[in-house]
């Protein structure tokens, strides 16, 4: 029993790592631009397909493929900002609807380019750290967890220590006051969108060798991300990380002891309960809602 718990805990930690990357990106975009990016799951999907193309098809090193995926998805994010989030800045619902339209476009383009069938990504490494008879941690999963920690730590350092980070946080708190201080709203929006999209892309790229890559894989990702950011409090980065970890544990344990669909239902019920009881989320401040 202890071993089963330990193994499930390790699985949960891995799920928490990429969930946190996706959710933090979504929160960053919402914080600076005030819009929910419904296509965020599809950015994750694009990151995974970057691995399919660069690593599996062209046989380039895996780390190169991850870097390509991250940059490419970040650039797609810049394109989204310029094409519809910027013109619809005063119309958050319009931005959301436009991102739903963009989600369809990305799914259709990937289906046309790669086909709708599941893609097989060859494993990067098959080494396993054997902790005990029944508790095993594949090295690749450990690498994903460490990569997520490093990325989140550097994002934190960027936001708290650099001038760009200050500008970003200032425009998230009060766009008008930030603009009066000479901070370019367009520039902070671009930075937020690039980082947010790149985080989703890198999450997809990191997990691609371990999951089934297909054009519709973004759906479950965005559902999870919504649960995390709403429960955590829309706009709270710390909340998103904490809830991503907590939610990954709940979801993994419910999946292990019941089944995956029940775990999804539990998560969505959790989302509804939080929306009813405390719409600002567990870690959100009241004035931002």
């Amino acid at each position: 029993m202890v071993e089963l718990l330990a193994q499930t805990g390790l699985n949960a930690l891995y799920a928490a790592s990429y969930t946190a990357l996706v959710a933090v990106g979504l929160v960053l975009i919402f914080g600076v631009m005030g819009v929910i990016n419904f296509a965020h799951g599809e950015l994750f999907m694009l990151g995974a397909y970057a691995i399919v193309a660069v690593y599996a098809d062209w046989n380039l090193p895996y780390l190169v493929a991850v870097a390509v995926g991250m940059t490419f998805v970040g650039i797609v994010g810049l394109g989204m900002e310029r094409a519809f989030f910027r013109p619809l800045r005063d119309n958050p619902l319009g931005g959301l609807v436009a991102s739903i339209g963009f989600l369809m476009i990305l799914q259709a383009l990937v289906s046309m380019g790669f086909g709708v069938r599941m893609e097989h990504v060859p494993p990067v490494t098959q080494d396993v750290i054997v902790i005990s008879e029944k508790v095993r941690l594949p090295v690749f999963r450990l690498a994903v967890i460490l990569a997520a920690v490093v990325l989140l730590a550097s994002l934190w350092a960027f936001l708290k220590r650099t001038r760009f980070g200050w500008a970003l946080r200032a425009s998230a708190q009060d766009p008008e006051a930030a603009a009066l201080q000479g901070i370019s709203i367009n520039q902070t929006a671009r930075i937020a969108m690039f980082i947010g999209a790149a985080l989703a892309g890198v999450a997809g790229a990191l997990t691609a060798p371990l999951i089934s890559v297909n054009p519709h894989m973004g759906h479950s990702v965005i559902v999870t991300a919504f649960i995390v950011i709403i429960v955590g409090g829309i706009g709270s980065l710390e909340g998103a990380v904490i809830v991503a970890v907590a939610y990954a544990f709940v979801h993994t344990f419910v999946t292990t002891f019941f089944d995956g669909v029940i775990a999804d239902i539990v998560g969505l019920l959790l989302l509804l309960v939080v929306l009813i009881v405390k719409p600002t989320g567990l870690f959100g401040s009241t004035d931002r809602a």
Partner: protein
Amino acid sequence: MHSSVTSLAAILGLGAVLLALPHALSFSQQEILVFLTINVLVVASYRLLTLTGEWSLGHVVIMGVGAYASALLSKRLGVYVPVSMLLGAVTAAMVALALSFPLFRMKGFYFLIGSFAAGEIIRLLWKRFRDPFGGPKGIKKIDPMPDFDIGIYAFDFFEPVSYYYLALAVVGVSLWIMWRIERSPVGLTFHAVHWQDRLAEASGVNVRAYRTLAFVLASGFAGLSGALLAHYIGTINPNSFDVEQMVFVLTWTIVGGTATFYGPILGCVVLTILNEIVLREAGFEQMRPLIYGLILILSVLFMPKGLESLVRGALSWQNARKKKVGETQATE
């Protein structure tokens, strides 16, 4: 007096065209016409929901509730199909009533996300519980509408034409009811709740009760359209009512514009014709999601009031010209 005669003539003319229409079409076009008729009810009911200012992402799932309920009632309990369709609509309305308690504590995009989550829960329940919902494969071999004869026309529901006439009658009556609701004091209050919710509340209007009413009514009609769909295609599964279908409904509604009753219907008809004639004939059918996505973005960006704003623009231009002509005649 004069205008009511012309509008009556227009309605009769439209009715004659709609009755004659299937006979000018091929078999596969007749099938598309049935889907189009059902979709008109979906978008019109969606507009009823948006009258109070809330946009739901769960409408297609609610439509599915009507479809599942009607399919199960007729298949498992042997309920007569027309009755099971009505009961499907009632079930959808009841589910919406239950959902309204959590959902109407939210507004704006919290409502949007909440309705999305609620819809996903319902779809996951269909997927998880093989008994009675059939799991991921859904329900197959749903009882067809029984044939009947009304003297002047014998309905044979293996023919799309017959089903089209049935759907046309059901959708026509539903649209008429929705139109009457919107013109009634209740409908005017829906508008007030949307545009002046604080003022409406201060004037003693129970804003939440009216939001709930609009949601429940719209969901009932959505459920009816789902039931119509289920007994026509004979197979439904959780993916028949997924986000992609919701995007189609959103696109029709937004492209048409929600300011008038006919806006979303116009959007649905125009885009379906575009889809079936242009895309299918040109062999681009599988690009439909791509093109719908593109149209959705472009219309949010450049035509936020929808197609109906173009029609209204043309009408007001014509009226202005008429007025001008009248004025010059008067001065002469």
